[in-house]
Symmetry: none
Subunit: 134 residues, 4 copies
């Protein structure tokens, strides 16, 4: 099983509502279990860099099966995975905002958000994920 | 003026309805006047290659300001622009399914569809564009 | 509204005068609000690496809507955005010399300078930006 | 000896005048004998694809030391160099608008123009080159 287009749109809508509540335009992306795009939305005036970051946060969360924030904590200089951010043709993001989507413990996709502070991005990604869990 | 997130979603929804009517899953992408992604959706079971093709058809339509089908007609072997399909870091698509979005004659974005035959892709792109023109 | 060719040339000319005053050859680039090149100039004997850096500093300033120097301060090891320098297909530059060009608070383009020390690059970028603000 | 920044700007100005006369916005690029950018200008409303094409036409003219139009004639399907348009990391352009800049028979740089029909591009490139020869 993997993330459907319908589910991806619901998660994006939920993340959007959180972004509107925070007041910062975001880019939100959802990928499937193969790490491939299902849906992506750039809110008006969201940063251009966030197009790449949102998609690759979602990809990273699937590719490593943990939140990008967690990956970041073990890939700082001096840490075990230092250097991983340049791997995989530059697709690995090592700061928060990317979360794996799980069903019964299995990763079925990922959601990535970019546009605000890392904390804001995480809040939106969590809001998007909550739309699935409900 | 450029394509907004709301307009992009409306155009994608219209293209989706056409795809459902045709019965072939599609990927639909909308970019702004700078060629940057606004929104993209991959319907369930749509081809993986269509993720790249839909986005780059939309990009191409903005980058050359004509439908990708028209570009294709002048870039066949022996024609004036033969070879352009490998330009611009591989982002140029020379078959149908990418259309510029115009407002008062000015290109404000592009829509690209991929997943079916070229004729089906064009039909969906036109359906998406019609949602804007209405 | 976005940066015009004429404005870009004026900004480049102003940045050039500053580079001549400093005595270090520079590459100066200006991009529009979509991050796409408007004009670029490499002064005689400027570093080859600066061709890429100047353009990508200008791009980065538009993509993140803040000076590249400011981005650098939050992307050092241990900082929130550490790792962003490898994002966006390697286009993100995290040291000084890239500035957003704003009109009434809206980013309409970016200017990037490379060739000297970071301080010299910043001085030239600021001189270029001042040509617009006048 | 190679193309200087001053010469590149003169050539671009001459090509610009021709583009204005024709009435089609162009992108004009000049590279040095190493194939590296010296100067580039995108006129207002010129096609986005032309940013890449103008630069790579200039590059190609230096890289093969003949006009891109001439290269095109020998790289059509069935011709000796068929396939070269995908070489060199996609930088080779095989239609007109790129000309080598020569001094006493030696290639010292290249000029590339894109934005109109191939004939219009060639006319502008020739106008730019004439500014040097005078």
């Amino acid at each position: 099983m993997s993330v459907t287009a319908k589910l991806a749109q619901q998660m994006i809508a939920a993340a959007e509502r959180k972004a509107d509540e925070i007041g910062v335009p975001m880019v939100i992306a959802v990928v499937d279990q193969g790490g491939n795009l299902v849906a992506q939305l750039r809110q008006d005036d969201a940063l251009l860099v966030s197009i790449d970051l949102a998609l690759n946060k979602a990809y990273t969360a699937v590719a490593v099966k943990i939140p990008t924030e967690t990956l970041g904590s073990v890939s700082q200089p001096g840490k075990p995975l230092y250097g991983i951010h340049t791997a995989d043709n530059g697709r690995i993001v090592i700061f928060g905002g990317g979360l794996p989507i799980k069903k019964n413990g299995t990763v079925i996709g990922g959601i990535g958000v970019s546009g605000g502070s890392v904390e804001q991005d995480i809040a939106c990604a969590e809001a998007g994920l909550a739309a699935y869990k409900q």
